[in-house]
Amino acid sequence: MKITNQIIQKHGLKIDEYKNIIKLLKREPNLLELGIFSAMWNEHCSYKSSRIHLKNLPTKGKQVIQGPGENAGVIDIGDNDAIIFKIESHNHPSYIEPYQGAATGVGGILRDVFTMGARPIALLNSIHFGCPEHFKTKSLLNGVVSGIGGYGNCIGIPTVAGETKFNSTYNENILVNAMAVGHARKDKIFYSKAKGLNKSVVYVGSKTGRDGIHGASMASAEFDENSEEKKPTVQVGDPFTEKLLMEACLELMKDNSIISIQDMGAAGLTSSSVEMASKGELGIELYLDKVPCREENMTPYEMMLSESQERMLIILEDGKEKHAKEIFKKWDLDFVIIGKTTDTKKLILKYNDKIEGEIPLDLLASKAPIYDRKWLKKKLPKTKINFKSLKKIKIKDALIKILSSPNHSNKNWITDQYDQMVMCDTAQKSGADAALIRIHGKDKAIAVSVDSSSNYCKAHPLSGGKQIVCENWRNLISVGAKPIAITNCLNFGNPENQEVMGEFAECLIGIKESCEFLDYPVVSGNVSFYNGTNKKNISPTPVIGGIGLIKKLEKPMNHKLKDENNHILLIGKTFGHLEQSVFLEENYSIIDGKPPEINLINEKNNGESVLEIIKNNLAESVHDISTGGLLIALSEMTMGGSYGVKIKKPKKLTNLVEYFFGEDQSRYVLEIKKSNLENVEKILKDNNIYYENIGVTQKDYFEIEKEMKITIKELYNINNQWYNNY
């Protein structure tokens, strides 16, 4: 069969890339081989546009056991405990079919984590939708949330934190990023690198169907005139089978049966077999007639490219086949030896003893294309907002407007649909700056949070990249955890567009600067390009997922005020930066100017001092100040509890709006008992930290002296309306 330009294009390959394949292979590929090249050389598997930028990220650290390059990152939290975690996008599938797209996103990221030997202990998600008025938003929101819950609840892993945002930039391209966190024994971590010759390659899990063969399968239908039309199908998740697969894998991992293991994610059998063999510098031979299939008459092409869910590939030690098979049989899962490792350094695919495809592995891995795409630098925006021309607004009205907006409304409507408590180690659920998960049977805990800020990143990618790492860091600090490492999901537009590529490159420089300065390495991540259309790309949206450690969890720290007559301390300097603020966006629909600056030295000092105060048991509650500024942070500390605040009007700043709604970075609000004030002030002074004592807590009322007063009950109601009325 002739490979035409049209076929090449339908496989997402450029003509130049195809020519390169012929050069490397020294012949024309057949269709199966072309499909395999297309899968391994696409952006998703090859990272061809992003790799040269990603390699600048700091990935090492005292506590890093495994950085990027494996299924997930691994960090050391002491006592032979390791945390394994990663975030991944499932944006496009979720836009087409929100329930299944989101569900399989959760399923996929869970497999990345338990493949490495970890029992998953927490799920997080970052979901971004178009504006609420857009006709698709409501059903997408509903579908995505129930899909995330549907999968996580069923498999029995708590979904404990996340972020939900609405912004018209996502009208045609929502973002669904899922993060999974697992716990493993440090001496029992499993990797994907194959070792040894003639080892059995085993297929376990669900059967292979024609799921997710995407455009490629339509292309294939045209070649074979006798075949019935093959519609591209959406992947359907089966959390029940995943649960069985997880338990079976964890059971098999108890002894030394496994040499290496890899889940079948994107590009299924192709990428898993290629990665295992090429990492081990071996060859691999697969007997495709052995692959368990769900459908009749599946071709080798379809088997190799199927993205059916809930499947794994395992390379076993000699003689362990029977033992392993018994475990999978117990869990009612398929277990079939479908190949072996060889010394050919080739991927050889046989069907009924006939060779159907043969490709040297380096062509699929190390020789895959890498591009240094052109990119444009973005200048710091110079627009000056003319505040004088804006209509005056009362502080109270602005506060209410923000608290009742979709982006700042209480997310209980979402989080009540997730099982947050299963596994019985959730010490802090959604709703706080970070969730706290106790390590089972021990008294330490990890803190987890995901964050992004697309408006900042759009305005100035470098500052935005820097800011988002800091914000994530701050969220972990606020619950008393020492931040250790991050994973990141980089959601961007079309990398062939120089502006988009510039946003990517500069966000990464920003991320790198913060991570380096804060000693907060990147240990895993995922890049999602081509979000939006080439004419209308989404705003750059890097999402950061961070893990922090609390060595001894005695009392979970959160942001809810605990008592009356306590001092409220504002840590960090307030300059009143309103450009790109929620205040302007919600009240005047202005999204303009430059994002707030980050001073990394202050960031670090402020954060470490707050952590010291928490560790010394001197704070009653802590909250970082993020979007919306001081007043939003304060109101969040009161809502849902019984204590409010009485805040003094600042003397220095003439403009109250700037003071209360400015989004200056590196700031925290602390609730401090009178008896602890002296000790806290000593720590702050010793560390040279700028702070202000801005008021006290009181019962029932949220008050700024001589400016506004409202009951916290009313605030709560305002904050809890939007989702229920939507």
Binding site: I96, E97, Q100, S206, G209, R210, D211, K230, K231, T233, V234, Q235, V236, D238, F240, T241, R294, E295, S308, Q309
Partner: protein, 79 residues
């Protein structure tokens, strides 16, 4: 006028539920079972006496809400 609508998963789409139900029926001794497909069922009554018009309305409901055309097919019958 009354219609019945059945909505079933498309042929190539994974049907985890069907698989479990089939296994269970076979396990509890129903070995003559050859295959089982599962779907949703709706009984719809329409205020319209003209069959083509009414059927069109039902068809519209299926497209707009009852079936997810990305993964499901539907069938309408007058009853």
């Amino acid at each position: 006028m009354k219609f019945s609508v059945t909505v079933t998963l498309k042929k190539d789409v994974l049907d985890p539920q069907g698989k479990v139900v089939q296994n269970t029926l076979q396990n509890i001794g129903m070995d003559s079972l050859k295959s089982i497909r599962q779907g949703k069922y709706f009984e719809i009554e329409i205020n319209d006496n003209e069959e083509t018009a009414a059927k069109k309305k039902v068809d519209n409901m299926c497209k707009k809400l009852l079936a997810n055309l990305i993964i499901e097919d539907y069938k309408i019958n007058k009853i």
